[in-house]
Amino acid sequence: MSLSGAWYLGLAAVVFSIGTLGLLVRRNVLVMFMCVELMLNAVNLTFVTFSRMLNDIGGQALVFFTLVVAAAEVVVGLGIVVAIFRRRRGATADDFHIMRG
């Protein structure tokens, strides 16, 4: 018998908040991506916890799809970063203001 789901949900909320904080505070695009991965993982943990609490496999199936979407997102996102790097050096979000307008 594992711990009550509330503990897992609380932990997931904290990890999600840390990811949000990192996304807002950091300026390195790659680190910002990692923070998005943190948030996705927190949501995955929530899904698995609810899957256990409600005894429904649907939560785990959703985690499966989240993983695929995360993989696709990373591939396209890093492709964009590499494409921008060909034109100018610098990995902070401020360096991308040339994309404005």
């Binding site: 018998m1 594992s2 711990l3 009550s4 509330a6 503990w7 897992y8 609380g10 932990l11 909320a13 904290v14 990890v15 908040s17 840390i18 990811g19 949000t20 904080l21 807002l24 505070v25 300026r27 390195n28 790659l30 680190v31 991506f33 923070c35 991965e37 943190l38 993982n41 943990l45 698995v48 916890t49 609810f50 899957s51 256990r52 609490m53 409600l54 005894n55 429904d56 496999i57 649907g58 785990q60 199936a61 985690v63 499966f64 799809f65 993983l67 695929v68 979407v69 993989a71 696709a72 990373v74 591939v75 396209v76 890093l78 492709g79 970063v81 590499v82 790097f85 990995a91 401020d94």
Partner: protein
């Protein structure tokens, strides 16, 4: 906290240790100045979450978590970090948008406090088990239950996922392409297959595809100027073969 005492000591201890690992890794991602350190901290968090998955009897997802996230996504991150040479330390004192960081901290703390208050203080309902949903406790364990669910209830979503992966691969190829297309020249035959490999090889098996792409990647590096194209092809084929191995595991 009667909730805590319902669990055995081992479970409580496992949760405490892995929660500490997860939180330390998450904080490390945010505060690490060096992107490589941040990526390694991310691996730590991912392993901690995998342990929590096992603790909740989601064994298959724990394995997929380690293989896909720690084995593929973080490697892709490290690859790009090394490839672009951005593993310098970031100057965190510099703050171009004044007041952004305090504001971010305040907003996040407020949001977290709100969620935790509503979740625990107000005893928010977590809903009831749906009548339509498939049970977790089926014969064959969580792999069988998950496979049955993915290929019956979520079949359409599964098919859409395949379309999403193809679109991601095509998008990455388009992004990696040089503007102006492939130049004719001595390195043209090193360039052309590397660009076409992921799109043309979508029907082949994962291993076959991987081999071809990495061979093309080597050719691209050897050509020197075209390293970018070869490298992109390699990383794309990695994500595609990983998704293929995922679907193989589900069907088994």
């Amino acid at each position: 906290m009667t909730l805590l005492f319902a669990a055995t000591t081992v479970d409580a201890l496992t949760f405490a240790i892995s929660a500490a690992i997860v939180l330390a890794g998450a904080v490390g991602v945010v505060v690490a100045r060096n992107p490589v350190h941040a990526a390694l901290m991310l691996v730590m968090t991912l392993f901690g979450v995998a342990v929590l998955f096992v603790e909740q009897q989601a064994n298959f997802l724990a394995a997929v978590q380690v293989i896909v996230y720690a084995g593929a996504i973080v490697v892709l991150f490290l690859f790009v970090i090394m490839f672009l040479g951005v593993d310098r330390e970031e100057n965190v004192e510099e703050e171009p948008l004044r007041g952004q960081r305090p504001l971010a901290v305040v907003l996040v703390v407020l949001g977290l406090a709100g969620v935790l208050l509503l979740g625990f203080g107000a005893h928010w309902s977590v809903g009831a088990r749906s009548v339509a949903g498939a049970s977790r406790n089926q014969s064959g364990g969580d792999v069988a239950a998950l496979g049955r669910s993915v290929f019956t209830t979520y079949l359409f979503a599964f098919e859409v996922t395949s379309a999403l992966l193809v679109i991601a691969v095509v998008g990455a190829v388009v992004l990696a392409r040089r503007p102006g297309g492939i130049r004719p020249g001595p390195d043209a035959d090193a360039d052309a297959p590397a660009t076409l490999a992921p799109a043309a090889g979508s029907g082949t098996t994962g291993q076959d595809h991987d081999e071809r792409a990495s061979a093309d990647g080597d050719a691209g590096v050897a050509a020197g100027d075209d390293a970018v194209t070869g490298v992109r092809a390699e990383s794309e084929s990695e994500s595609e073969s990983e998704s293929e191995s995922e679907s193989e595991e589900v069907s088994r």
